[in-house]
């Protein structure tokens, strides 16, 4: 029923790439939750293997620039990379969906004002927005989360608004209103349930971009600060290992790529024709 509201025809069948994606994403979430319990060492422990040690049985990902076990660093970092990005994405999408539906249902000046504000925010490249915010407010965790969330609200808003406009114009909404249902009921019971599937796809894509934004910021040294480290910060602190081909540089970067690629493939598998627009 909701399918006619969405322009792209969707396949029910989940492709092989999509199945692989589901398995990988579950693995990543488990890693973020249980990572620190699985880690053989604590994140700050210096082990007896020298700095930038290569891969070995005792230290599967080698050691970092201070001689700490990389596997443990990665497992601890999963909380920041997966967890922080997840919280920021949830906030961005909740804000975007609420404002988007408000715009679509209210129309009029609410719609114009919100639309203008979204236009302005979306015209600031995400990483540049992050730089301005960090310059002004520093790099504490709440600032990073809010910054990423606000940066991605406009995209979510536009997507949700377009969906809600489509659905709002359909007959069953007309029927509900003619029945005398209140706006809150129409939004909650009629519009929202019909938006869920495309919104999930949108959530996944946005999560990928938030991960890339936050790890990019950490890579620049302007994200999560030492002694804590997400995977982007791990790449940064071990960057000198590049001249010794140390696994400490590559492993965290590859970890980010595997995370983002698996989520992207999952979405691609679900939605068949993934939305070409990225923002």
């Amino acid at each position: 029923m909701s399918d006619s509201a969405i322009s792209a025809p969707r396949r029910r069948r989940v492709s092989a790439a999509g199945q692989a994606g589901i398995a990988l994403v579950l693995a990543w979430v488990a890693l973020a939750v249980f990572g620190p319990y699985l880690a053989p060492y604590r994140a700050g422990d210096v082990v007896n293997a020298g700095v930038f040690a290569p891969m070995s049985a005792a230290h599967p990902f080698g050691t970092d620039y201070l001689g700490r076990d990389m596997l443990s660093r990665i497992l601890y970092g999963a909380r920041y990379t997966v967890g922080v990005a997840m919280v920021a994405t949830v906030l961005a999408c909740m804000g975007g969906i609420a404002l988007g539906i408000l715009s679509a249902v209210r129309r009029g000046w609410t719609d114009s004002v919100l639309g203008r504000a979204a236009d302005a925010l979306i015209s600031i490249p995400h990483l540049m927005f992050a730089l301005v915010v960090v310059a002004a407010f520093g790099t504490s965790l709440p600032v990073l989360i809010l910054m990423a969330a606000i940066s991605y609200v406009p995209g979510s808003y536009r997507f949700a608004r377009a969906l809600a406009l489509d659905i709002n114009a359909m007959d069953f909404i007309e029927v509900a209103r003619a029945r005398g249902e209140r706006s809150a009921y129409v939004v909650w019971a009629e519009i929202l349930p019909n938006m869920i599937a495309p919104l999930l796809t949108d959530f996944g894509l946005r999560f990928v971009f938030v991960v890339l934004l936050l790890s990019g910021l950490s890579f620049l040294g302007l994200g999560i600060q030492p002694p804590n480290a997400d995977w982007g910060a791990l790449v940064r602190e071990n960057i000198t290992g590049i001249y010794e081909a140390a696994p400490a540089v590559l492993v965290p970067a590859v970890a980010i790529a595997v995370l983002t690629i698996s989520v992207t493939l999952l979405i691609d598998g679900f939605s068949g024709r993934a939305r070409a627009m990225v923002r």
Binding site: R116, D119, S123, L131, V208, A253, V263, L265
Partner: protein, 315 residues
């Protein structure tokens, strides 16, 4: 006439948005109490010295007056003075901006033809193994962080093979020197942009290929390659130009990472350094240049779609 009206409206809308962006940037960087005097003088100075400097910098004025002054300065090409080395911001930005333009222009020169080639060939051979492999590769590449591509590139080609340098200098004295300096940064930037651009080019072509006049031509026995190149490409030119401009705008994020990795003296590296030293006038000016460039590309994308829509070509 209709078309001209739409373009004019789009340009005016863009200018209004840019004005809003300038408010966001100004308010964002001025909202906290600690101001420039602290950054210049340090915290243990006499109140008289602080007051004097505040007056000299115009910080004693109310916020809206400072905003108007700043905006007027931006428009007249004088966005203030750096807090760190006291040089005019315009003087710091000038050469850096040119370097960044060089890097992005070289990237565009490689990425755009490559993306068109891949997009068009995948549309011709749609559904084949080549198409599917290209699609999965493109989807994956969009999700890869630039610093992974860059570190792998440096490890392979700079550290192991010694083919190119791990640092990029903005000089193209000779062909080999240009290759040495620009191969890695340009390739790093190309990957994600090319992938996304190729996907959108393919999608634009497929959108046209689904229309009935193409069905007609197909039934008449026109070969797939001719169908795409001769019949579909012309009508997909607008959406494709739109895709090219939109994706070039996404380069602006990648440039920030790449310039830092390769220590390339461009505008983005300057902005990151300014954030580290909290040099607000410099941060503001860099942010505004980035946003203006970004909006210009989006505007070009919009105008391309308007110009290519035959329904608007009425007289």
């Amino acid at each position: 006439m209709l078309m001209l009206g739409m373009i004019v409206r789009r340009v005016l809308g863009g200018l209004l948005t840019l004005l809003l962006v300038s408010v966001v940037v100004f308010v964002g960087t001025n909202i906290l109490p600690g101001d420039a005097t602290e950054a210049i003088l340090g915290q243990s100075v006499s109140p008289e010295a602080v007051a004097g400097l505040r007056k000299a910098l115009g910080l004693d004025l109310p916020a809206h007056e400072r905003y108007l002054r700043w905006l007027a300065g931006l428009l007249s090409g004088d966005p203030g003075v750096s807090l760190i080395n006291r040089l005019p911001v315009a003087q710091l930005i000038g050469p850096r901006f040119a370097n960044s333009l060089l890097l992005t222009a070289l990237t565009a020169a490689v990425a755009v033809p490559l993306a068109l080639l891949i997009g068009i060939t995948t549309a011709i051979w749609r559904g084949t193994l080549y198409d599917r492999v290209a699609n999965v590769t493109a989807v994956s590449l969009v999700a890869v962080p630039e610093f992974l591509l860059a570190t792998v590139g440096v490890m392979l080609f700079a550290v192991q093979l010694h083919w190119v340098s791990a640092l990029a200098k903005p000089s193209i004295g000779s062909f080999t020197e240009a290759l040495q300096n620009f191969t890695l940064p340009v390739l790093t930037l190309c990957f994600a942009v090319t992938a996304q651009m190729a996907r959108m080019t393919r999608a634009a072509l497929l959108g046209v290929l689904d229309s009935s006049y193409i069905e007609m031509a197909r039934l008449k026995g026109v070969r797939p390659a001719r169908l795409v190149l001769h019949h579909a490409l012309r009508n997909a030119a607008g959406p494709i130009a739109n895709a090219v401009a939109l994706n070039l705008s996404s380069l602006l994020g990648g440039v920030i990472i790449v310039e830092v990795i390769f220590s390339y003296p461009g505008l983005a590296k300057l902005a990151v350094d300014a954030v580290e030293t909290r040099d607000m006038p410099l941060v503001q000016a860099c942010a505004m240049i980035f946003c203006a460039t970004f909006m210009l590309l989006v505007l070009v994308a919009d105008v391309c779609s308007i110009l290519s829509n035959p329904r608007l070509r009425t007289r």
